[in-house]
Amino acid sequence: MNGIHDIGGMQDMGPIQYERNEPVFHEAWEGRVYAITRALGAWGKWNIDASRYQIEVIPPADYLRMSYYERWLTRIVEDLVKHGLATREEIETGKPAPEALPREARNATPPLDAAGAVAIAASRANYKRPEANAAARFQTGERVRARNIHPLGHTRLPRYVRGKEGTIVRHHGVFVFPDTNAHFLGEQPQHLYSVRFAARELWGDGASFRDSVHLDLWESYLEPL
């Protein structure tokens, strides 16, 4: 989706607001929102790509106005409602409505306790899948073009590289494909490559001829030259 989150290359967003000795969370509620998000993830009702998409569908004006953790708070509410863990009315009142929901969402046992939380903070996930069926279409050093596509759902192909030519610099392996996983259409793993785009290919002659931007792109985002 050509949404407000796809912001790479815009120029009018103002100076970078640097804060010295910045705290991890500026207010206690930010930490709670962060932790609630992580803890609810343990229910396995959604995945990381669906989670990112839920932020991307925040209306553009709201997206720009909200602080980072306000977006996270908005996302949790939408996820809870969408996946039947709570109703909007319950969230507004802060009180459970026991009859409004399926049995599994009443008096449940949280999947994550304190020990589990410590464990997940130290556990690596794996988004890599076996390189089973299809061989990699592209080799390191090969020239490719990012396809000029405009999917309406979630994608990790930013607008600023679409239609641009680059070079494969690394083959990462086969990875879960976000564009389908975000919509619960399966992992549909694909080869993932690091692709180097010359800064001048992306931004014209005003850019340094030495500089480059590298993106991790899935095979179906790319076509051979």
């Binding site: 970078i16 640097y18 990112r52």
Partner: protein, 221 residues
């Protein structure tokens, strides 16, 4: 930043919680009552990222790479495995690639689409990293962005920007500053800043570090 965050500090704060604070409190109490989250798990997660998982981890990785060439070689070949040797690993560090800065090549990491960042080695990202000004301009004007961080790169240096579009996470291995040959691994780790591992700063030798003031100090919150 949010409009609510910019207030002046001359007045006494009123004890009225912000709207998101109230909404979050109501939400947490609902989720606890329904048995959807365990508040002790929330406490443990906040504690982990406030007190245990942060840029000191990455600094130890960098210092080890500076003093141990065999470790550095492993780190550049398989970032995740080498970082795990020091006991670090977790979500958002699932697939790690380490990028070496040299006098001729400067690497800079961004996530234009959201806020991808290597949590196990750097902790949770600072607000500026997640905000529109950095995300939008790091790819189109990296040298201008670095200038805002008081880092002027020579014209003949190559800037490589890494937009974190997949589950691969990038950590910059900054250059070891001159004049630090006699320092211990621990002393070196103390020099390494979060910003240098994102690629918006260089690591300074102790004498330099004292004399440099940030150009953007006036913009700090």
């Amino acid at each position: 930043m949010s409009l609510g965050a910019s207030h002046n500090h001359d007045h006494e704060h009123q004890a009225v919680p912000s709207d998101p604070a109230l909404r979050t409190k109501a939400l947490e109490s609902l989720l606890v009552e329904k048995g959807l989250v365990d508040p002790a798990a929330l406490d443990a997660l906040v504690d982990a990222y406030e007190n245990k998982i942060g840029p000191r981890n990455g600094a130890r990785v960098v210092a080890r790479a500076w003093v141990d060439p065999a470790f550095k070689k492993r780190l550049l070949a398989d970032g995740g495995a080498a970082i795990a040797e020091l006991g670090y690993g977790g979500p958002q560090g699932d697939h790690m690639v380490v990028l070496e800065n040299t006098p001729n090549v400067h690497n800079l990491v961004v996530c234009t689409l959201c806020s991808c960042y290597p949590w196990p080695v750097l902790g949770l990202p600072p607000v500026w990293y997640k905000s529109a000004p950095y995300r939008s301009r790091a790819v189109i004007d990296p040298r201008g962005v670095l200038r805002e961080f008081s880092l002027e790169l020579p014209e003949d240096a190559e800037v490589r920007v890494w937009d974190s579009t997949s589950e691969v996470r990038y950590l910059v291995l900054p250059e070891r500053p001159e004049g630090t040959e006699k320092m211990s691994e621990e002393e070196l780790a103390a020099l390494v800043t979060r910003d240098s591992m994102i690629g918006v700063a260089k690591v300074l030798a102790p004498a330099e570090a004292h004399s440099v003031a940030r150009v953007n100090e006036g913009a700090k919150v």
